[in-house]
Amino acid sequence: MLTLTSPVETRLHRLPAGGKLAVLCLFSAGLFLLRSPVWLALCLAVVALLHLTGGRDLAWRGLGALRILWPFVVIVTLWHGWTGALVEGTAIILRMLAAVAAANLVTMTTRLSDMIDVLSRVMRPIAPVLPPRRLALAVALVIRFVPVLSARVGQIVDAHRARSPRRRPGWRVLAPAALAALDDADRVAEALRARGGAG
């Protein structure tokens, strides 16, 4: 399965993951304290510049990841155009763009393995409640079974098409898909028990 980490190695990739996450937390909290569009625009500019230090490819990916926000940009623009509170509306849009872009930048420049290292460090205090081994096993199972279940759903769709004149089975795949997940879960549980349990 692909991750959202940018394959092009940049300087930002080499910074420690924990540090990047801490800076992101402070930056996001700071954005909510700022009210003036000028300062927020400056924050957005800083995030944009950081994207550009990673090269054109990273900057384009960052821009592409912001596309999901367009409905909110349109809604806020229309709303504040109507009520006349333009300064406030500009601040809301700039804050939203800067916060999401900064978070995406950290995701794009941090490898999954580094993220998992930080996670295991953060989770250490609750190890007696949630043994790290158990969490790691659950994560590995999900990553393995997303493609497996996805292929299973594909088979269900094909089987339905072979039997029915309708082209798209729609909701009819849902119950067989849920049953497939339950059956796989039972088999995995048996396999784990046979190998000495989940720890």
Partner: protein, 180 residues
């Protein structure tokens, strides 16, 4: 123990896979994906505790940078977007749906549909609308107008959750952990 773990992991995978299923467009052109249906099913099939854990595991993997949300989205950015309230409401929605499934003696279809409506719509919208109100600087009632567009799709999904849970109850009564 192994059974709980494998069911939680497999249903986390199911939520992700349901986000990949080609989406259905409603008449108004509002796209609906089956992903929130996956959240409802976690509660109605696995029960409150396991269902909520499966959803938490899903959110954890999204935060780590796996593109498991509908449309191949993921990463930390989605937790900074105006829809963050819906994400944070997902585990609570699954828990409430599971609780209703566990604590009532209604037939599986009715219990699951009621759970999906109360948890997957009522509780989820409460979180989602509060999130949008905070992120977009609007009042709760103003933000709730934005969520209305998704209501018809979600009602449909709640009924589908009821039907799927009923099918599971018939085909694998022992696997319906919410009624175990």
């Amino acid at each position: 123990m192994e059974r709980s773990l494998s069911h939680i992991a497999l249903f986390t995978a199911l939520i992700a896979v349901l986000g990949l299923v080609p989406r259905i467009d409603l008449a108004a052109g509002v796209p609906i994906t089956a992903q929130s249906l996956g959240i409802m099913l976690c509660g109605t099939i696995l029960g409150a505790r396991r269902g909520a854990l499966a959803v938490l595991l899903f959110l954890l993997l999204v935060a780590l940078g796996l593109p498991l949300l509908a449309g191949g989205r993921g990463g930390l950015g989605v937790f900074a977007s105006p829809t963050v309230g819906f994400l944070l409401g997902f585990p609570v929605a699954a828990f409430v749906a599971g609780l209703i499934m566990e604590r009532t003696t209604l037939a599986p279809f009715w219990a699951a549909t009621a759970g999906a409506v109360i948890g997957g719509i009522g509780v989820l919208y409460l979180f989602g609308i509060t999130g949008m109100a905070i992120m977009l600087g609007k009042s709760f009632s103003e933000a709730s107008v934005l969520a209305l567009a998704f209501l018809p799709g979600d009602v449909l999904k709640a009924v589908l959750a009821g039907l799927v849970t009923q099918a599971v109850a018939r085909a694998r009564p022992a696997s319906l952990l919410a009624r175990g």
